[in-house]
C-alpha cells in the first residue's frame, strides 16, 4: 500500500525536498539491515531519521552557511547513511566519497569544492593528524562519522567571517557526486533534489518494489546509482534495505542472497560473468530473488541469456544510465530480454532519448551520440562552465556514448565518443592513469588504453617509453600501486622505444591507433 503512495514535492521554502523525502517515510516496521563480517544489526527508518535529526542538531552551533558543502567518506554502513541524512537535514550539500578513497583524495576534493565540512571515520583522520604531515583543510570542520563530534575546527577567521568562496553551486543543488574527468582531474556532478527524486520515481515505476521486498545494497554509496536505485528506492517503496560491504567474489553475493533472502538487487556485468562461467551454484541458491537490474555497461548477450536460463524466476533488466542523469536513463523490460538481449531498452518514465549526429537528431537505425532529456538531467559540473556547456545544450544531455535506436525505440549502446574505458561498469579516463605514469621519474612517455575483456568489459593496458632503458618496470608498478586505486591501474605493460607511441599528423597521441596496437600486442603475448 505504502509503495504506491505518490511522492509530492513539498512547498516549505526552508526545507529542501530531499530532506522532506527522508522525513516522509519514517516507517517503524521497515528499515536497514546492516551486515558486516557476518554480524547483522537493524535500524528502522524511523530510528534512522530520528538519529540523523539529533546529529544535525549538534551542528546548529557551528552556524554553517545555508547550503554548506560536506565531503563525506561513505562506506556501506548505517552510520554513514545517518551522516549523509544529517547533512541534508542541516541544509547542506553532501559530496559522498567512495570508501576506497584515500585521505589525500578526500582532502583534495574538500579543497576543490571549498567544503565547509569533512566527515571521516576517526581511523582515517587520527593517524594523519598525529603525524607531521600538514593537513591542508583549514577551511573546514572535520567531524568524526561515528559520533558526529568535532575533530578539528577551521581557522578562526573562517569561523568569524565565513569562507570566501570562489564558486557557489546553484541553490537547488542537493548532492554532488565526483567522477573521473577527461582531463585527468575529477569533476563534481551537481544534482538537484528534483533530479534525484524524479529518478527515484522513474526507477520505481519499472522495478515496482513492494513493501515486502528486501533490497540488497553492496555497491559503494559514492555512486549515485546506489543512492537513487537502491537506498532511496527502498525507502520510497517502504521496504527493507540490506546493506553490506562490497563482495570480493560473486559467490559471496550468492551466499548472501541465499542467507538473507534478498528479493531485489542491482549489479554490474563483471560480477555476473564469473557466475555464468561457474556451475557451482544453482537456481535454488537464488530462489528468493525476483528482479535484478544490470547497470554499468553492456553485458555480452550470450552471457545474459545463459544467466537468464540459470535463474529463470528472476526478471533480469539491463539498464543504462550515467551520473549526469541521476543516473537511470533506460531499461529493458524482462519480457524483451529474449528478443533484444543486446539492447538497454526503452527510456524510463518522464525521460526522452534521442540520437544526435552533426548537431541534428537522426532517424531510427542511424548511429550517433546518445542525448538525454528529462527532469533527471544534472544542473552541471561544479565550477566548470566550459565542461557543462559541452555536455548540456538545447538538445539535452550529451552522454558521450554512441548508439542507435531501433524501429521500436529500443536503445543500443555501441561505443564511446571520447577515450573513456569501461572497466567493470566504471567510466575511466586514460588521462588519470597517464598523469601518474608520467610523474614517475624515468618515464619519457606513457599512454594507456582499453582492450576488450569477457569479464570486465575492458581491461587497461599501458605503453611505456622509458628515458633510460635500464629503468625498472617493477618500481613503476609499485609506484602505481601507491598512487592509484585498483580500477585505475594498468593490468598489462608494454615497453616501447622512445618514439614508439603512435602519433597524429600534429604530434598528438593517436588513440585509435593505440587501441589497435594494444589489441595486436595483447594477442601476440
Amino acid at each position: 500500500m505504502n509503495s504506491l503512495r505518490p511522492f509530492r514535492l513539498q512547498q516549505v521554502q526552508s526545507m529542501n525536498e530531499l530532506s522532506y523525502f527522508f522525513r516522509q517515510y519514517p516507517r517503524t516496521d521497515r528499515g536497514v539491515f546492516e551486515t558486516r563480517r557476518g554480524n547483522t544489526r537493524y535500524v528502522s527508518y524511523a530510528e534512522l531519521i530520528e538519529s540523523a535529526k539529533e546529529l544535525s542538531a549538534l551542528w546548529d552551533k557551528l552556524k554553517l552557511r545555508d547550503r554548506f558543502i560536506a565531503v563525506l567518506w561513505m562506506e556501506q554502513s548505517i552510520e554513514c547513511m545517518r551522516t549523509m541524512m544529517a547533512v541534508v537535514l542541516a541544509g547542506g550539500i553532501p559530496v559522498p566519497m567512495h570508501p576506497f578513497s584515500s585521505f589525500t583524495d578526500i582532502v583534495r576534493i574538500a579543497k576543490e569544492t571549498e567544503a565547509e565540512m569533512v566527515i571521516l571515520p576517526k581511523d582515517k583522520y587520527l593517524p594523519v593528524s598525529q603525524s607531521a604531515i600538514q593537513i591542508d583543510i583549514d577551511h573546514a570542520y572535520v567531524i568524526a562519522c561515528e559520533s558526529g563530534k568535532l575533530l578539528r575546527t577551521p581557522l578562526s577567521d573562517v569561523i568569524s567571517f565565513g569562507l570566501k568562496r570562489t564558486y557557489t553551486p546553484p541553490q537547488e543543488t542537493a548532492v554532488i557526486f565526483m567522477s573521473s574527468g577527461s582531463t585527468g582531474t575529477p569533476k563534481g556532478i551537481m544534482l538537484s533534489d528534483r533530479n534525484i527524486l524524479s529518478n527515484v520515481a522513474s526507477i520505481q515505476s519499472y522495478v515496482d518494489l513492494q513493501n515486502d521486498d528486501r533490497v540488497l545494497l553492496f555497491k559503494s554509496l559514492g555512486y549515485c546509482s546506489s543512492i537513487t536505485g537502491e537506498w532511496l528506492s527502498a525507502l520510497f517503496a517502504g521496504c527493507n534495505l540490506q546493506l553490506t560491504e562490497s563482495f570480493m567474489h560473486p559467490f559471496e553475493m550468492i551466499r548472501f542472497i541465499k542467507e538473507h533472502e534478498t528479493t531485489f538487487m542491482c549489479t554490474v556485468p563483471s560480477v555476473l560473468m564469473p557466475l555464468v562461467k561457474s556451475d557451482k551454484w544453482d537456481q535454488e541458491d537464488v530462489a528468493s530473488l525476483r528482479k535484478m537490474t544490470i547497470v554499468g555497461g553492456p553485458m555480452p548477450s550470450e552471457g545474459l541469456l545463459q544467466l537468464s536460463d540459470r535463474m529463470p524466476s528472476v526478471e533480469l533488466m539491463p539498464s543504462y544510465g550515467l551520473t549526469e542523469a541521476s543516473p537511470r536513463v533506460s531499461y529493458l523490460p524482462g519480457s524483451e530480454l529474449r528478443h533484444r538481449p543486446d539492447s538497454v531498452g526503452i527510456p524510463v518514465k518522464d525521460v526522452d532519448i534521442c540520437i544526435v549526429q552533426g548537431g541534428r537528431e537522426v532517424l531510427a537505425g542511424e548511429s550517433g551520440e546518445i542525448v538525454v532529456r528529462g527532469p533527471n538531467v544534472m544542473l552541471g559540473y561544479y565550477n566548470k562552465p566550459e565542461s557543462t556547456a559541452e555536455k548540456l545544450n538545447e538538445l539535452g544531455l550529451h552522454t558521450s556514448d554512441i548508439g542507435y535506436l531501433d524501429g521500436d525505440g529500443y536503445l543500443y549502446v555501441t561505443g564511446r565518443k571520447d577515450n573513456a574505458i569501461n572497466i567493470g561498469g566504471h567510466t575511466i579516463y586514460p588521462e588519470t592513469t597517464e598523469r601518474i605514469l608520467q610523474d614517475f621519474a624515468g618515464v619519457h612517455e606513457a599512454a594507456v588504453t582499453g582492450v576488450p575483456d569477457d569479464v570486465w568489459g575492458e581491461k587497461m593496458v599501458a605503453f611505456i617509453a622509458f628515458q633510460d632503458p635500464s629503468s625498472s618496470l617493477d618500481e613503476l608498478i609499485r609506484y602505481i600501486k601507491q598512487h592509484l586505486q585498483p580500477l585505475f591501474r594498468p593490468r598489462a605493460y608494454f615497453l616501447v622505444e622512445r618514439d614508439g607511441l603512435p602519433k597524429t599528423a600534429v604530434g598528438k597521441l593517436n588513440r585509435a591507433a593505440l587501441r589497435s596496437m594494444a589489441k595486436e600486442w595483447g594477442n601476440a603475448k
Binding site: S246, M248, H249, F251, E252, I254, R255, K258, P274, S278, D279, K280, W281, D285, G424, V455, W456, D474, I477, K481, P486, L487, R489, R491
Partner: protein, 86 residues
Amino acid sequence: MQSNSHGHVDEAVISTIAQCCNKDVSEIRLDHSLANDLDVDSILFLELLFALEERFGFQMDVDDLHPEKFRSVQSVIRFVAGKIAA
C-alpha cells in the same frame, strides 16, 4: 609421497601467485599477506582465483569464499591442496 605431492602443489601455487602479481617466485614468501605484501587488489584477486581454478582443474564452491582462506600465501596453498584432495 604425501609430502612430495604437497611440495609440488606449494610450488605451483606460488608460481601462479607470482605470475598474477607480476613478481618473481623468489620474492614470494609463505607468510606474505596477499593484500598487504603482494598488493592483491579486488581485480587481481578474481584473476588469481581464475588462474588457480584453471591450473589445478577445480571449481570454487559458493561456500569457499571465506576471507581467512585467502589471507596469506600459506592459506591459499592449504585451500588449493584441500580442493584437489576432495
